[in-house]
């Protein structure tokens, strides 16, 4: 059992997401950075889809009521277990009664926004429509269908014996697979159905300029600020199906990117779609910072997705190898 001590808002229980329910109006939900979640689970010997706590606002404090292994993945923020500093992306053993504190970090080689508290055995909340992710709009899934509150007690599942020894970890994917353009986080995008409906100048600006993630951004969507994107002619569409990654342009000319909790339909024209392989990068961009869109072809998008799959498989292979090495060196715990 894990007890939430801080009154922080917006922390939620998330697994990889709830798929197959868009037709009922139920969004995907799930971790904004699915690579961080999956890698944490691999290090702990969990199923890739085990649930963890996604933490976007700091400080965040919890007390562990039983001994377990944990790993903090995602953003590099300052974390302490009682008074001992805790390194990100490395497995750490926790004793019953210890308190974990995660605070906004200082300089890091990767400026990111969300930390994932992964626990051996996973956060054991009930499945709802096949997922443990929190569905905030529908108020189901996760922990009582809501963000975590002070005093909540999160159940933890049974840990496998495949967890890594203390201190073992992986290099974050942002360092293994960097993607920057002129010092700005790059995000790869496919043209969407209404791309040709926008002026040539607007399309050129869309690719050439930086886009700021405004404070009106959350798990539902990111509202961007940048040059005005204008259609060639006034454009009205009936509502149609949309998915996370779709970049809509409302009448104001400032794009909105649909994120994990986005509604499954919308009527604004679409200029592009963030490729699935880069949604984790976008999920970690800090509010107030900027991104640059890079156009890719369909084969390039498929290749990028394969690169992500390959990275996860490499993590799985190397973690298994490392576990063997550490056992041989007598470091297993």
């Amino acid at each position: 059992m894990i007890e939430v001590l801080s009154s922080t808002a917006l922390a939620t229980v998330q697994d990889l997401g709830r798929f197959g329910a868009l037709g009922w109006g139920v969004s995907h939900s799930g971790a904004m950075d699915r690579l961080a979640l999956a890698a944490g689970n691999i290090l702990l010997g969990n199923d890739d889809n085990s649930a963890a706590v996604e933490i976007p606002i700091f400080p965040f404090r919890v007390r562990f009521h039983h001994a377990c292994n944990i790993v903090l993945t995602g953003a590099d923020h300052q974390a302490r277990l009682d008074d001992q500093p805790l390194q990100p992306w490395l497995v750490a053993p926790v004793r019953a009664g210890q308190v974990l504190t995660v605070e906004r970090g200082g300089p890091s080689r990767w400026q990111a926004s969300r930390v994932y508290l992964c626990v051996a055995g996973g956060i054991d909340v009930p499945l709802a429509l096949g997922s443990r992710s929190t569905q905030l709009r529908g108020q189901f899934g996760g922990y009582q269908g809501r963000t975590l509150q002070q005093g909540d007690h999160l159940p933890v599942g049974v840990a496998s014996d495949l967890h890594c020894p203390a201190g073992m970890g992986v290099v974050p994917p942002a360092l293994s697979m960097p993607l920057m353009v002129e010092g700005t986080q790059a995000i790869r995008v496919l043209r969407a159905a209404e791309y040709e409906a926008f002026t040539d100048h607007s399309c050129a600006e869309f690719w050439a300029k930086n886009w700021k993630i405004t404070s009106q951004s959350d798990r539902y969507g990111y509202r961007l600020a940048g040059p005005m994107i204008e259609p060639k002619l006034p454009l009205e569409l009936r509502s149609h199906g949309i998915v996370p990654g779709v970049i809509q342009v409302p009448h104001g000319g400032q794009p909105i990117i649909q994120m994990r909790d986005a509604q499954p339909s919308g009527g604004y024209p679409k200029i592009g779609t963030v490729i699935d392989a880069d949604l984790w990068r976008l999920g970690q961009v800090q509010i107030g910072s900027s991104v640059r869109f890079v156009e890719v072809s369909w084969p390039e998008a498929v290749k990028a997705l394969q690169d992500v799959t390959d990275w996860l498989e490499e993590v799985r292979r190397m973690v298994a190898l490392g576990r063997t090495v550490q056992k041989g060196a007598g470091h297993d715990q």
Binding site: P88, R109, G167, G322, Q326
Partner: protein
């Protein structure tokens, strides 16, 4: 005198009006300062430093890959099992830990150098 015993004494000292207690032994010195009930313990070891070597090959990291500061600063006390460095093999990070309590002296291998089995990585002065 062990460090745990010295820490115990430091706790007792907090309840007294003794401002300074210096303990000297064959293996080191323990200096306890008491400022209004708040005690600080400074440990100086006189035992010779021992080199700690790599137990396997990899790229030795004195920093966490995401951070610019070393995992341990010279002349700081480290606990047995504390992570002092990392060995990177591809995406994998393996911990290099202090084999016993001690004072970390300095790194013997530079950050991001490829090291093999038994390469000396850092010096630790036992307590």
């Amino acid at each position: 005198m062990t460090n745990d015993q010295a820490a115990l004494v430091a706790g007792w000292l907090a309840a007294t009006d003794i401002a300074l207690l210096e303990l000297n032994g064959p293996d080191g010195q323990w200096l306890i300062r008491n400022e209004g009930g708040k005690t600080t313990l400074t440990i100086s070891s006189t035992r010779p430093a021992l080199a700690v070597s790599a137990s396997h090959s990899g790229v030795f990291l004195t920093h966490h890959p995401l951070q610019d500061h070393c995992l341990v600063q010279p002349e700081t006390v480290v606990k047995e099992g504390q992570i002092v460095g990392l060995l990177q093999a591809g995406v994998l990070l393996l911990p290099v830990v202090a084999p016993h309590d001690g004072v970390f002296v300095h790194y013997l291998s530079a950050d991001r150098t490829l090291v093999g089995y038994a390469t000396p990585l850092f010096e630790l002065r036992p307590l």
